[in-house]
């Protein structure tokens, strides 16, 4: 979205409270959705749950084409359509819901940096796994390990990345890690690498139980 369009959406967003019939669109789960899209969609769903904002998940084969930016997921709230985690976080913030307000400037800087790390390494690895074959797979797996190690170090023994309160970083990390762990791929190397970090596993389980407990696993 261009800068002007984003500003416009924020202004419109501030006008109305979150409706009951908000919907999230993504491609079909079993047959269609790609690994990276699944992760992004889960991240957004987790974020909305953490904010306590109800949303109905609808699977559509033409979700990509319905999206204003071509990227998934996107949400339909009131008479507005917003796609991707970044703009959605801004959108909910305009409506008065934010997870990162309690952070000071330095912490917010760290949070953004770690989100870029996840986008840079995990997302790229997922895209790679989906589309490319194993020629440079070793490098990709190494990147994933590095990223997981960094996340594991940063998380430590805390419940969330910024101690007691979840933020959009927790949503993003959960979306990606959970997807990697639960999706059946031709090679289980990726999942194995993630599994070797026990605090990340615990983190994923905890978020799953807290926010998705009525979902059948």
């Amino acid at each position: 979205m261009s800068l002007a369009a984003e500003a416009f959406v924020s202004q419109m967003a501030a006008a109305e409270p979150w409706p009951e019939n908000a919907t999230l669109y993504q491609p079909l789960k079993e047959e269609q959705i790609l690994l990276s899209d699944c992760a992004s969609s889960l991240a957004v769903q987790t974020y909305l749950k953490m904010c306590g904002l109800p949303v109905q998940v609808v699977c559509k084969t033409n979700a990509e084409f319905m999206s204003p930016s071509g990227k998934i997921p996107f949400i339909h709230v009131g008479n507005q359509v917003v796609s991707e985690l970044g703009p959605i976080v801004q959108f909910t913030k305009a409506k008065g819901h934010s997870l990162s307000d309690g952070l000071d400037d330095v912490q917010r800087a760290e949070m953004k940096a770690y989100m870029e790390l996840v986008n840079n390494m995990l997302l790229t690895s997922e895209l790679y796994i989906q589309w490319c074959d194993d020629a440079t797979a070793a490098e990709v797996y190494e990147d994933v390990s590095q990223c997981c190690q960094a996340l594991s170090q940063r998380l430590g023994t805390q419940p969330f990345f910024f101690n007691k309160q979840p933020t959009e970083l927790d949503a993003l990390v959960f979306g990606h890690l959970f997807t990697i762990l639960t999706t059946r791929l031709t090679s289980s190397e990726l999942a194995e690498r993630v599994r070797s970090y026990s605090n990340l596993l615990t983190f994923c389980r905890r978020i799953e139980q807290t926010y998705f407990e009525d979902k059948n696993s």
Binding site: G70, A109, A113, Y114
Partner: protein
């Protein structure tokens, strides 16, 4: 490990040891970690077209890409990150990702795509540092690579044009600069009192933007307002790149010690002079003895009372 190491890189300009971000990152890290690396500028050679820079050559092996080069140096025991905790190492990775994702595209745009900057600053420099006839080819090639890179990573689709995403590019970059400024605060370096690889990366990204003589660049002005970041660059230049000879950190420390010694001697001389003047003025008074005041009067008494 006394293998000599040679770094092929773009040469210096604008008050910097190199105008090229990647080369600057490696040069800075070498200084921080005490690695003796000889800089071999590719300027005015055909390597301006053929080589990938920076390239570190050590004996038979050669390594390209700043991250790989830094890993190589660490394996050779030139490790500026030795004292970092695991958490700080994780933070390093995260902040480097931030630089690459949020700052890099806008820097590419500022140097290679913005028409005024490109024609007044970037192209003249690179053209004048490439041999004939490459001066017609090299800048243009870099500019095209820059445009493709920006569109691939930031454009919604490859068919978008640059000016549609310009505003977002620069607002992301300004936010990134703000975040770096918050994180650095009033410290000299990002992790404590000595510089690490993160400092090398930030320096490599910021210094060319800070120093290039652009006719007008909002991003450059924005950086100029973040005093702790500009001070960060100046500090590294002064401490690690000030003389024409490559000075390692230990020799800088020696210089500081030598200066301190000279200062102490000067102070001592001064105080002796003052004492003499004092004596002359009060020559009649027996209480003011013509020697430096002892810190422990008991010692003087002890000496006096030592039995013969």
């Amino acid at each position: 490990m006394a293998l000599s190491m040679e770094l092929r890189c773009w040469g210096g300009g604008w008050g910097l040891p190199s105008v090229h971000t990647e080369s600057l990152i490696v040069l800075a890290y070498s200084k921080f970690s005490g690695a003796q690396v000889t800089a071999s500028p590719i300027d005015w050679t055909w390597k301006t077209l053929t080589a990938t820079v920076p390239e570190l050559i050590c004996g038979e092996s050669s390594v390209t890409d700043p991250t790989q080069i830094l890993n190589f140096l660490r394996k050779q025991r030139f490790n500026a990150d030795y004292e970092l905790t695991a958490r700080q190492g994780a933070d390093t990775l995260a902040y480097i990702a931030l630089l690459e994702e949020k700052l890099r595209p806008a820097l590419l745009h500022t140097f290679w795509v913005d028409a005024e900057n490109y024609s007044n600053v970037t192209r003249p420099w690179f053209a004048s540092h490439s041999p004939f006839p490459l001066n017609f080819v090299v800048p243009c090639r870099h500019a095209n690579i820059a445009i493709s890179r920006i569109l691939l990573t930031k454009g919604e689709s490859p068919l978008n044009r640059i000016n549609e995403i310009e505003a977002k590019l620069y607002s992301d970059a300004k936010e990134c600069l703000n975040l770096l400024s918050y994180r650095l605060g009033t410290a000299n370096y990002f992790f404590g009192n000595s510089p690490t690889s993160l400092d090398a990366f930030v320096f490599g990204f910021l210094a060319p933007l800070y120093k290039a003589g652009f006719p007008s660049s909002p991003l450059q002005s924005h950086l100029g307002q973040l005093e702790n970041l500009t001070q960060f660059c100046e500090n590294i230049l002064a401490v690690y790149f000030s003389s024409s000879q490559p000075s390692s950190p230990s020799s800088v420390q020696e210089t500081k010690d030598a200066n301190l010694q000279k200062l102490t001697q000067l102070v001592n001389k001064e105080s002796n002079l003052i004492e003499k003047m004092d004596d002359n003025l009060r020559s009649s008074s027996p209480q003011h003895k013509p020697h430096r005041p002892e810190p422990k009067p008991s010692l003087a008494n002890e000496k006096n009372s030592t039995p013969a």
